[in-house]
Every structure is written in structure tokens, then in C-alpha cells.
Subunit: 393 residues, 2 copies
């Protein structure tokens, strides 16, 4: 099976990374930039000012648009596209975490195209290009700063949908770990969980993989677990923050899927998208709340793969029974989520869906009967209902 | 310290990778291509024909130039530049291993520039651009398929010099592991050693590094050692060849130096360049013949770093004495080189330099007194003489 690895984002990692912003925009021939961010904190703390001063120096124009929020909204994307057209911008700069980046990516698609941008998220049309964009990262989590992916929520129906294409891979990403010092503990945990899950979704796939990719994945997971715990203990631990930030990029830029034909499982992500579409929960927390139930539902497909993870990542002793080893590995992973204060059930997540709601979640996850999800094990609506139900806790 | 990670090469890895050649050239808007290769084997075995048929189908012109050899020569580079000008090519395609790629990179610099291409290798001038190039890889070794580096030998004086810039990073690289089935055992060993050394040169640097980078480096080294041994046992082990091929790219594309300010040590490479410039030995073998002597000369700078490598990579038990642990780690690495039939002394390499020759090697390595080499420990001529001398065996 052929794999493409294409991660052309020019990454600067270090304390002075943001000082490269004007230079990187100039290199990319930006004329006028739509700077998109989330909370007004980045204005108040001077980050936006630090960026706009560099643009002024380089003679690059800009217009500001804030307001991106977790599970970024289609309405704001449309607003950004209209603003970008009105102001004749030719480049987008996302300042923030995955929400600002995904929202900016959607604007970048929309500005390139005449039609309805939501089409790219429903799958009705495929993007044929995008405006160029760059990133100043303030949160280690989604890996959107190097990825080909963006996820948008349509408030009309609470649908959360993703669009993947190489067009939206950022031209550059500036990673200053000190910008994440102020990330609160819960968000730090959610980010750590998200990075882990991006790696796990790729680790669990049905086709034979490269030994090298497996080893890199497990090395990354080990580093993320250790440094997530360190960042929770000391939010200003530079090395911990730097490791998490770089891990967020590597877990989602394609490196961890080389050799598996560009596929992963992604069932947990798709089930979580429906959860956060309906209940607006934090993405990382939604993922860990489901993972164990997903894993127990599917591990018999290839218990050896779970068992190896338990051995290599957690040092679990192998027995003669791979099924038993797999269950031990799942337990160890859940203990690991707990150690970074992430939920392992819906109850711990603070969500208590009725049977009807679970049916609705599953219905949405199958695009109303139009698709199955997962690849490690292919899941239909019945499986999905069973997993959500088991995840109640 | 700020690190840049920029590896924009679009990589296709798999048995059908070469079938993407016409498509990738078309995507990159190639009009006429200089196809540069090494031995005529790639013509006889049909690989060149497979490529040119695709170009014909896409209506892309081409001209062929073979003859690249290990330690690729400046004279052939000049010939390629003249041919490229004459034929009005706008794209270069290297078909082969590091020699063909490095030679094509030098042509790509030369075609872009009016002046003498050798200036970029002596450091007299810095490149300001390069013609675009792509790669069809037939050897897992140098990692030039994703790297910013090329090394050329000037027959006039036997000088081997490198030039690094992002301009020469290939636009695409097609990696079909089956193309390396026919690589003879000695070349397989040399390639494995080269991949290991690209990783080790980056692991040993003086600035604090990212834990994640260390973990990824050790994961890669472990995979390379295991798969190098497997490929020697069974040259047609697809998975082993695929792991080695991908490891060659990752060991030299910058991933293994993130967090160390884009630096590594590189003393062994610089000392080996003089060896192969004078004796025309295989690069990988030249590196392993020196490494142990280099390591024993410098380990006291940071014996802990060697000790950790011994523990994590070879499972060596730590003692209370990091110096002793470091020496054990060096021994284990040498045993590992021996296990893949690589020399650990100059004698085993088949080179027996006189004192005068060692003086000349050291003189050249310092650019005739104009530089020191290394960063883990900075080495002057005296150090270099001591290391070459200790390496005699």
C-alpha cells in the first residue's frame, strides 16, 4: 500500500519564534493578512500587538477578526470569508489553538472558492485550492498547525464535520512554548489527551504497518505522557511545554501513519465529534471518555496490537494470552488518562445521554445511515450505540 | 534556542511509488527534465524506461545523463550544468542513491546561477536559489532525498565539500523499497551505517535537547539496527527494506535535530569527507571506522549522554559511574557496527595512512587552519590528528 507523507509547513520552535512572523509573511509574499484569533486574551497580553508591529515594519496590511471558540462555528467562518473578500486579503494568519486554526482554514477554503464553504465539510464537493495561511500557536493540542485537517461545527443541526486536503496545510507555524505557560490545567490535560489520541487513532489500523512508525509512535506517546504530567505539575516548565507543543504537530502531520496507507481508525474521533456537536464538551476529554469502551469493543480484531502497546509503552509483562494482555493494556491506558485528570466515561465527562440521545448521536455519526466508521474494526450504527452505551459508566 | 524544521518534500512510499513520477512532475509543472542517474543498471533493469514512458505520456521532455558515482565528482556536475543549459531543462530528476541526488542538487544550484558552482561548496558564496528537483530513490543511505544537503568531490585536490540550503530540498521523492532488493550486502551495511550516523551526529550536540527528539532518535536507531540486520539476512524482506528506506529520509530531514538549534556535531562526517576524498572509501564505512575513536576522545564532555544511549538503545545496566557507562555504550555501538559487518578501525576499512597523510587529512579537515570541527567537543587540528591516529587500529 502506498503512503504519502507531505508536511511542507515551515516550523520555527523556540522562545523567539513569534519574532519571525513578519519575515515569514514576507517570504510568503503576503500583501494583506486576515489575522484570526479566539479569545481577546491574545490582544490584552500583547501578542497581537507584537505581530501587527512586525507587519507594519514590513509594510504588510492586515485586518483583525477574533471570536473563534472551541468547536469553531460555521457562522464565524462565513463572517471571515465576507470580511476577507471586502478587505481583499490574500493571506490568513491564525493566532491561537486548533479552533482559530481550523476556523482560518475554513475561511481559506471559502476565500478561494465561489460556492458554499460548508460543501467541503459535508463532502458534497472537494476543495480545489485554498488561500495560504500561517499559524502562531498558543496551545499544544490539535496539531492543526501542520495537519491537512480542519473541523467545523454547523450550529444549524449541531453537526461537526471535518475536511481534509493538503491545500490547507499551513505555510508556516511559529511555536513558542512560553505562550502555553498560561494554559489552565484542564486545557493542558485535554491537549495532552488530544495528542495521544491522534497517535492512537493512527496506531490502530488494519493494514500492516512499518515497524519504524510503530516505534516512533510509542516514543512519542511516552514523551507526551511524561511531559503532560510535568506540565500539570509546573505550568512554566519550558522543556515540558516545548515537548508537548512539538508532539502536537508530529502526532497529526502524517508522520505517525506512514506505512499504513494514510489511514487510521478515527472511530473515536467521529464519535466524539457528535458528542461535542451536541453537548459542546472539550474535544480531548470527549475522546478519552469513549476510548476504553471503543477499545473493549474492538480489541479482538487484533489483540496482539494492543498487547504490544501495553508492553512497549507501559512495560507490562506479556502472558500466553494476547486477549488478556490487550485488556491489561486498555486498563493501563485508562489509568494514564486518569493520571492526567481526563475522564474515562461519559459520566466523568459530565454527560448523561438518554437512550434516545444515544440513538441520535449514533445516527449522526453514520451520517444518517450513509456511512460506517472506523477501520481497525468497521462499526455500524449498532456498534456505535453499544460503545456509547458502554461508555456511560 | 530556535529550531527550524522545514521538510517540504512530498514523499510517496510503497511498491507503486515510481508510477507516480509523471504525475508528480506534472504537478510541479516540469517542462523538460534532466534525468540524472549513476550506473547503467537503472537503464538495463528498465527503471529509466518506466520513468520516460510516463514523461512521454504527460508530454514532458527529457534528456538523460548517467555516470554519477560514489563521492560524486565536480566535473560531472559541470557537464550536467552545461547539458541542462544547452537543452533548456527546467527540472532535475535524480534516479539513484545519494550520489545521483547530490550530483543533481549541485547541477540544480549551478543551473540557477551564473557563477562557479564550486563557490557554494567552498563557502565562498551562498546559494540564492536552485532549479527544482525530484528523486526516484534506489538506495537507503544518505537521506539526501529529503535533506538540505549535498556533498561534492573536486578531483582537483581531492576536496570533498558540502553545501546546505533549503533551496535544494527535493520537491518530491518516490520510495519503492523493492528497488533496493538488489543492493549488495556491503552497500546495505554502508547505508545502514550512514543512517545511524546521521542520527548519532545529531544526538551528540552540546545544547540541551528535546526529550521527544531524543526518544524519536533512539526509536529510529533501534529500528535501523534491527532492520539492517534483517535486510542482510534476506535482501528481499520488503518490510526491512521499507523501514530502512524511510529511516534514511527521517534521519537526515531535520526531524532528529529539532530542539538543538539546528546543530549537530558532524565531526565524524567532516573527518570522513577527507578520508573518502583521499582514499575513495565508502562513506558509511568511513564513518564507522572513525566513530569509536571520536567517541573515546570526546565522551568526557558529557558522559551521561553516552550512558543514556547505552541504556535506552542497548539495554545496558547503569552503574554509579557515568564515564564507565559511556565507555560501555561506545563498545556496544562498535559491536553493533561489527554486527552489520562495518569496520571500526581504519585498518578494517583497508586504509593505512602514514603520519604525513594523517597530518594532511587533518589539515584538510580544518580547511587548512581556517576552521575547527565538531560542537559536542570543538576539535582543532591536534584533536583531529589524535582521533585519526587512534582510529588506525
Amino acid at each position: 500500500m502506498m503512503t504519502e507523507y507531505y508536511a511542507p509547513t515551515d516550523v520555527m520552535l523556540g522562545k523567539d519564534a513569534v519574532s519571525m512572523c513578519g519575515e515569514m509573511l514576507a517570504r510568503n509574499k503576503a500583501g494583506k493578512v486576515l489575522i484570526h484569533y479566539g479569545s481577546e486574551r491574545v490582544v490584552r497580553n500583547g501578542l497581537i500587538g507584537q505581530i501587527t508591529r512586525q507587519l507594519d515594519e514590513k509594510g504588510i496590511g492586515y485586518v483583525l477578526l477574533g471570536g473563534a471558540q472551541p468547536n469553531p462555528r460555521l457562522s464565524l467562518v462565513r463572517k471571515g470569508i465576507a470580511l476577507g473578500r471586502e478587505e481583499n486579503v490574500d493571506f490568513l494568519l491564525a493566532v491561537g489553538g486548533g479552533s482559530a486554526i481550523d476556523s482560518a482554514k475554513a475561511m481559506a477554503y471559502g476565500l478561494y472558492d465561489e460556492g458554499d464553504v460548508w460543501d467541503f465539510y459535508t463532502g458534497a464537493r472537494k476543495p480545489s485550492g485554498s488561500f495560504p495561511l500561517g499559524v502562531v500557536l498558543t496551545l499544544a493540542a490539535t496539531g492543526s498547525e501542520m495537519s491537512d485537517s480542519s473541523v467545523i461545527t454547523n450550529e444549524d443541526g449541531g453537526l461537526k464535520r471535518g475536511c481534509n486536503s493538503n491545500f490547507c496545510r499551513p505555510r508556516f507555524a511559529l511555536l513558542d512554548p512560553t505562550l502555553t505557560y498560561s494554559v489552565p490545567p484542564y486545557q493542558t490535560s485535554c491537549g495532552t489527551a488530544d495528542i495521544m489520541m491522534h497517535t492512537l487513532e493512527r496506531y490502530f489500523h488494519p493494514s500492516a504497518t512499518l515497524d519504524l512508525t510503530d516505534k516512533l509512535s510509542i516514543a512519542l506517546l511516552r514523551s507526551v505522557i511524561e511531559n503532560g504530567q510535568k506540565a500539570l505539575q509546573d505550568p512554566e516548565d519550558y522543556d515540558a511545554r516545548a515537548n508537548l507543543m512539538w508532539a502536537s504537530s508530529l502526532s497529526h502531520n502524517g508522520l505517525m501513519q506512514v506505512g499504513n496507507g494514510n489511514r487510521g481508525d478515527w472511530a473515536c474521533h467521529q464519535m466524539e465529534h457528535e458528542l461535542s456537536g451536541m453537548y459542546d464538551v472539550a474535544h480531548g476529554a470527549g475522546l478519552t471518555a469513549i476510548w476504553g469502551s471503543w477499545a473493549r469493543h474492538v480489541y479482538m480484531e487484533d489483540s496482539e496490537r494492543f498487547a504490544v502497546l501495553g508492553e512497549e509503552l507501559f512495560g507490562l509483562k506479556r502472558t500466553s494470552d494476547p486477549d488478556r494482555d490487550a485488556l491489561q493494556a486498555i486498563k493501563a491506558m485508562e489509568a494514564c488518562f486518569t493520571s492526567i485528570h481526563m475522564p474515562i466515561t461519559l459520566k466523568e465527562l459530565g454527560v448523561d445521554p438518554t437512550d434516545e440521545e444515544i440513538d441520535e448521536l449514533a445516527e449522526k455519526a453514520t451520517f444518517f445511515g450513509k456511512r460506517t466508521i472506523g477501520s481497525f474494526q468497521i462499526l455500524d450504527k449498532e456498534d456505535i450505540v453499544a460503545i456509547y452505551t458502554a461508555a456511560r459508566g
